[in-house]
């Protein structure tokens, strides 16, 4: 284990962070100029990765099977809309934080059953949050400012009087929020908070008898998870969809985030980014293959069905062979390379000694 340099971050983490920052702040903006990449891939990737971190906290770290990420995202998105509309003094960042907190309140409310039940029982309880939140937003006109068309245009993002409306600017907004929250999540996961989560995940009864409060730990995990989902939902609506409609946050999105979380690797933060990238990019790739190799001979609905079969199949395969997902796979590959290099260098040096 390396010694932490700053808070819980080691030297390696800081180097990784620096590399990521250089890549995302300098390299990507200077090389990628097409709007498509920002509006359809990078921005949704960051938003969904953030939501997946939320799902990771409750599922990967605390071991609670929850299936309502999209509901909390909807709560965050509509809270954001109403805050900007009704409390303009709060500003963008303030509204973002408050809408995260509102989502967190829902998280606490619907996380309470986790104290009594686990597994699929809990999954059903969290499904209630998914359906209830979407219904509530849909049925009470106030949340939508009595808009009858069903689709509301999101307000422009203004931070400190400056508008952030171009794809590149929105990308930077998402990047900043995601970076801050990711670092926070890593810190929490490595600190005592995360230790408590993992203790509860691995054996809740043992954790309780060692003095970890189940009530506090579980409710905290649900609240923080919902906070992340809420902020992600607000960004998703304001930077990616640019509109607000409850339908965008249906159960399918919850499943998508669940898949990102599981395929990416339970209990890892980088898994959230890997999983989100895979689930987002794979359909793009599949469509490209359909268009370029088969020249549109395959119907689009068939391609999306095949995509579903592959996602499901991968889920089964990962559960059988690598339940810790792609992050672990990546770790294994790195490890293999390391030992290969090490063994070849040690072989060389031992050969050198002989001669």
């Amino acid at each position: 284990m390396m010694k932490p340099v700053f808070m819980t971050y080691t030297k390696k983490d800081l180097i990784n962070l620096a590399v990521c920052m250089v890549l995302s702040v300098l390299v990507i903006p200077s090389f990628i100029t097409t709007e498509y990449w920002y509006t359809s891939i990078l921005i949704p990737w960051l938003c969904l990765a953030l939501a997946t971190i939320g799902q990771q906290i409750v599922m990967g770290y605390t071991g609670q099977l929850a299936l309502g990420a999209a509901g909390f995202m909807a709560a965050g998105a509509f809270a954001m809309f109403n805050l900007i509309l009704r409390v303009p003094d709060l500003g963008f960042v303030g509204s973002l934080i408050v809408s995260g907190l509102i989502a967190a309140a829902f998280g606490i409310l619907f996380g309470l059953p986790s104290l009594k039940v686990r597994g699929i029982y809990l999954m059903v309880a969290t499904l209630a949050s998914q359906f209830f939140i979407i219904w509530m937003i849909d049925k009470f006109g106030w949340f939508k400012n009595y808009d009858s068309s069903g689709i509301i245009t999101a307000q422009d993002i203004v931070i400190l009087g400056k508008p952030f409306t171009t794809p590149l600017a929105m990308y930077f907004v998402c990047l900043a929020v995601t970076t801050v929250l990711t670092l926070l999540a890593m810190n929490m996961a490595r600190g005592s908070t995360g230790r408590n989560w993992m203790a509860v995940r691995d054996m809740d009864i043992a954790a309780e008898s060692m003095g970890v409060s189940l009530l506090r730990t579980k409710v905290q995990a649900f609240a923080i998870s919902a906070f992340y989902c809420g902020v992600a939902g607000a960004l998703f609506a304001f930077c990616y969809l640019k509109s607000l409609e409850p339908v965008a946050f249906d159960i399918k999105l919850s499943f998508k985030i669940l898949f990102m979380c599981i395929l990416g690797g339970l209990g890892t933060i980088n898994g959230a980014f890997i999983g989100a990238a895979f689930i987002l990019l794979f359909p793009v790739l599949l469509n490209a293959i359909g268009n370029n190799v088969f020249h549109g001979a395959i119907d689009a609905t068939i391609i999306s069905s095949i995509e579903q079969v592959i996602f499901g199949g991968l889920m089964i395969i990962f559960m059988i062979y690598e339940p810790l997902g792609m992050a672990k796979l990546w770790e294994n590959i790195k490890q293999k390379w390391k030992t290969k290099i090490q063994s070849s260098t040690s072989l060389k040096s031992s050969l050198g000694k002989k001669t």
Binding site: G119, I120, W135, M203, I251, S305, G312, I316, M319, P323
Partner: protein
Amino acid sequence: MVDELLFFMEVLVGGLLAGTMYSLVALGFVLIFKASATFNFSQGAMVFFSVLAFCGFMQDFNIPFVLAFILAALLMVVVGLCTERFVLRPLMNASEDTVLMATIGLGYVLEGLAQAAWGVEVRRLDLGIGDFPVPWIADNLKLFISALDITAGLVAAIMIIGLFLLFKYTKIGLGLRAVADDAGAASSIGIPLKHIMLLVWSAAGVVALVAGCMWGARAGVQFALVDLALKALPVLIIGGFSSIPGAIIGGLIIGAVEKVLEVYIGPFFGGAIEGWAPYVLAIFFLLYRPEGLFGEKIIRRV
């Protein structure tokens, strides 16, 4: 006053009968849970898959009704066979949650395969039973009750009695219960685990097909069936995951409560509360009686 009472009765009976439709989906779930302690999240997808195949056989290949039904049932046996071989057997020693997640994946595979093979458009399924009030009951009891609902109720009753007898009084049933109790111990005394699993998954597949026919005749054979089937989950929580009678009682409760709430309380909130009411009801059950009405008490050992 009498009219109001009659209307209430009509809502209640309609809800109860509609609830048997949920029971049918829940039944397949219980069957698998009872025999293998596996939460099969893909039961909804199996409903969709089987009935879409059934429709496809009838409408695309012009195969007669009975033959198409048999073919679809055989297809579900094949699905059960593949599931046992490629999903369950490798996951024999995995944790509950891992198997659950694998069945979510299985559900995705089945949904995708069904749509790739038979297309995504809504299909009509005509069972020869209309979804309209039975004249005889309407005349004599002044209740408007759909013939389809009554059929669903009857079918559910027959299947539940049949399965109940199978579990309770046959050697296979005894084997099933032994496997559910402790798979390792059961296989060590010579109960063929593989065959039991295959049998259970095939039976669940056929139950899914029957449930799919009932749902399909009412709402059309379409992807939304998967979401409808999710409502079997609150049914299971109320009835208990391991109880066949629990599945039917749970279904009846959900069906009745959701209809009565929708009709009497729904209008104050703009309606459509039946989308979440069953889940909230399930939460209350979870808080006070997590094992459900008929389930075995959940005991976790450290």
